[in-house]
C-alpha cells in the first residue's frame, strides 16, 4: 500500500510521551518514538531498562499485570491502543508475539499452529491444513516437520520450537510481529536461522525485536532504539546509530563500556 518513502513520513506505530508505572515504580519515562512499517526495529539497552515493558504495551500484554498504569499516547496506524474502542483480543491477533523461551503448547505441531485460527473461528479442515502449511513454510520449518505434524511440539529442538512459535504467531495473520529476545535461549546456528527468517519476514510484516545482543541488532535491524533506565536515549537508522551515535551514553554502550 505505502511506498518506502511514504513509510518514513507515515510511521505505522507512533509513541508519544508514554509513561508506564508498575505500582509506584516508574518503568517508562516520556518515551517518544516512531516505528516504520515493514522493517525491523530493534530495542537495545542494559537489563531492566524497560525494553520488554515497551514491547508489551504494543499488544497490551501489560494489562495482565496488576497495578500497571499508563499515561501518554501509543498508536498503531492512528488508532490509540489504550482507548475504549480497542478490543484487546483483536489487537493481539494483529500484533503477534514471540517470547524469550520457546513456549509451544503441550499439543501436536499441527494443533499448535491451528490453535490461533481455530480460536478466531476457522473450522474447515482444508483451510486449517492450508494455514498450517503456509505458516510453517513462512517460518522455514515445513521441510523439517511436514512428515510428522501429529507429533508433540516438545519433540522438536529448542530452535525448531522457537520457529514453531513464530509460525504459530504468523498463523493468525498479524501485521506486526514482536520478538522479545527470541534468540537468547538458542544456540548460534538456530539464532542465525531466526535472524535470516526475520530478514525474510520483514517484507511482509513489521517486526519489533528486543535484543541483548548488539551484533544482532546491527546485523538484522533497519532502525535501532537505545534505552536507558526507562528512557529513550537515541533512536535512528541502525547504521547511523552504530557508526555515528549522537549521544555519549549510546557510544559508551555500543562500545561495551557498560551494560
Amino acid at each position: 500500500m505505502a511506498t518506502a518513502t511514504q513509510v518514513q513520513a507515515q510511521p505505522l506505530i507512533s509513541i508519544e510521551k508514554l509513561n508506564l508505572f508498575y505500582g509506584s515504580f516508574h518503568a517508562l519515562k516520556d518515551v517518544s518514538l516512531t516505528i516504520p512499517e515493514k522493517a525491523i526495529t530493534a530495542f537495545i539497552g542494559p537489563s531492566g531498562c524497560g525494553k520488554s515493558t515497551l514491547l508489551r504495551t504494543l499488544n497490551r500484554m501489560n494489562d495482565m499485570i496488576p497495578g500497571t498504569r499508563i499515561e501518554g499516547s501509543i498508536a498503531i496506524g492512528g488508532t490509540e491502543l489504550y482507548s475504549n474502542e480497542v478490543d484487546v483480543e483483536t489487537l493481539r491477533k494483529k500484533v503477534g508475539m514471540v517470547f524469550q523461551q520457546p513456549n509451544p503448547f503441550p499439543k501436536s505441531i499441527y494443533d499448535n499452529i491451528a490453535y490461533g485460527p481455530r480460536l478466531h473461528g476457522t473450522r474447515s479442515k482444508q483451510q486449517l491444513d492450508e494455514i498450517v502449511e503456509t505458516s510453517l513454510k513462512s517460518a522455514v520449518l515445513w521441510d523439517e516437520v511436514k512428515d510428522h505434524l501429529k507429533r508433540s511440539a516438545f519433540s522438536l529442538s529448542g530452535g525448531q520450537q522457537q520457529r514453531l512459535c513464530i509460525a504459530r504467531a504468523l498463523a493468525v495473520n498479524p501485521d506486526i510481529l514482536l520478538m522479545d529476545e527470541a534468540t537468547s535461549a538458542l544456540d548460534p546456528i538456530s539464532t542465525l536461522k531466526i535472524e535470516e527468517l526475520a530478514q525474510e519476514l520483514k517484507d511482509r510484516y513489521t517486526i519489533v525485536m528486543v535484543t541483548h545482543n548488539m551484533h544482532q541488532a546491527a546485523r538484522v535491524s533497519n532502525q535501532t532504539v537505545f534505552f536507558l533506565n526507562g528512557e529513550v536515549v537515541e533512536f535512528s537508522d541502525t547504521e547511523k546509530l552504530f557508526s555515528n551515535p549522537t549521544d555519549q551514553r549510546t557510544e559508551d554502550y555500543i562500545s561495551g563500556r557498560f551494560g
Binding site: 500484554m61 496488576p66 483480543e89 493481539r92 517470547f99 513456549n103 503448547f105 490453535y115 490461533g116 504459530r168
Partner: protein, 319 residues
Amino acid sequence: MQSDTPQANRKVLNTSTSITSPNAFKNNRVSVMNKMMPIILFLCASVSILTTIGIVVTLFSETIQFFQKIPVLEFLFGTKWSPLITPKSFGVLPLLNGTLMITLIACLVAIPLGLASAIYLSEYAPKKVRSAVKPVLEVLAGVPTIVYGYFALSFITPLIRDIFPGAGVFNALSAGIVVGIMIIPMVCSLSEDAMSSVPRALRDGAYALGATRLEVALKIVVPAAFSGIVASAVLAFSRAIGETMIVTVAAGATPTLTGNPLDSIQTMTAYIVQVSLGDTPHGTVEYGTIFAVGMTLFVITFLLNILAQYVARKFREEY
C-alpha cells in the same frame, strides 16, 4: 548453648586430621544415630503398610468364609437385600444402586462446581482473593461430616420436599447433594493446584494469539492440568462412595433397587454402620455380610483408582 556452638565447631576443625593421614576420611559424627535413622524411619513407614495388609487379610478371609455359605452369584446379581429379616435375601444390587446413586448425584454437584471455582480462583481471582479463599477451603474440608448430615436433613430435605411433595423424609437426592457440597472444596483445591502449576508462559502464548481469559482457561489450562483434574475427580468419586455419615443420617435405611432419587435408599457404607451398631452376633452369616459388602466397596474403589491412573496417563499433556 548458642554461644558454645562456634567453639564446638572450632574444636572439630582443630582435631580434624590431615588429609594425608589414614584416618582422614573417617566419620567423626555420631555414627550410631546415622545407622539407626533409616531403621527408625522404616518402622514408622511400616505401621501404615502393615495396617493396610492387616485390613486386606481380614477382609479377604471373612469374605471367603461368607461366600462359602452364600453363592457369589446370588450376592452379586440378587435384586433384594434383606439379610436380617426373614425371608433372608442377599442380593447386593440394591445397596450398590444406593451407593452409585449418591455418588452420581454428588459428582454431578461437586465436579462442575468444584472445577468452576477452581477456574475462577486460578484464572480470574485477584491474588488477594485467592490467598484468602484457599485456607477457607481447607477449613471447609475439615468440617465433621455429621454436621453436613444434619444440614441435609434440616435444610436441604425440607427444600426438596417443598419442590417435590412426593419426596420422603429420607431421600437419596438430599444426601447426594450434600455429599457433593462436602467434596466441592476438595475438588476445587486439588484442581486449582493442578491449574496454577501450569506455566505462565503457556498462558502468555495463548493470550498473545488473542485468546480471551475463558479460552485460555478452557483450552490451555484445563487440558494442561487434565491429569490433576482427573485425579481430583476420582478422589471426589471415592470420597462419595465411601461417605458414611451423611447418607446414614439423611438417605434412609431402606435398600431399594430404584432409579428415583426422591426415594429412601441405603448405601453400602450405611448398611455396614447399621450392622456394626446392631446386635447381630459375630460369626454369623448375617454378620459376614458386612465383610462381603466391604469387599465390594474395596474392589470398586480399587478398580476406580486403576482407571484413573490409566486416564490420567492417556490424557497427560506434558509441559
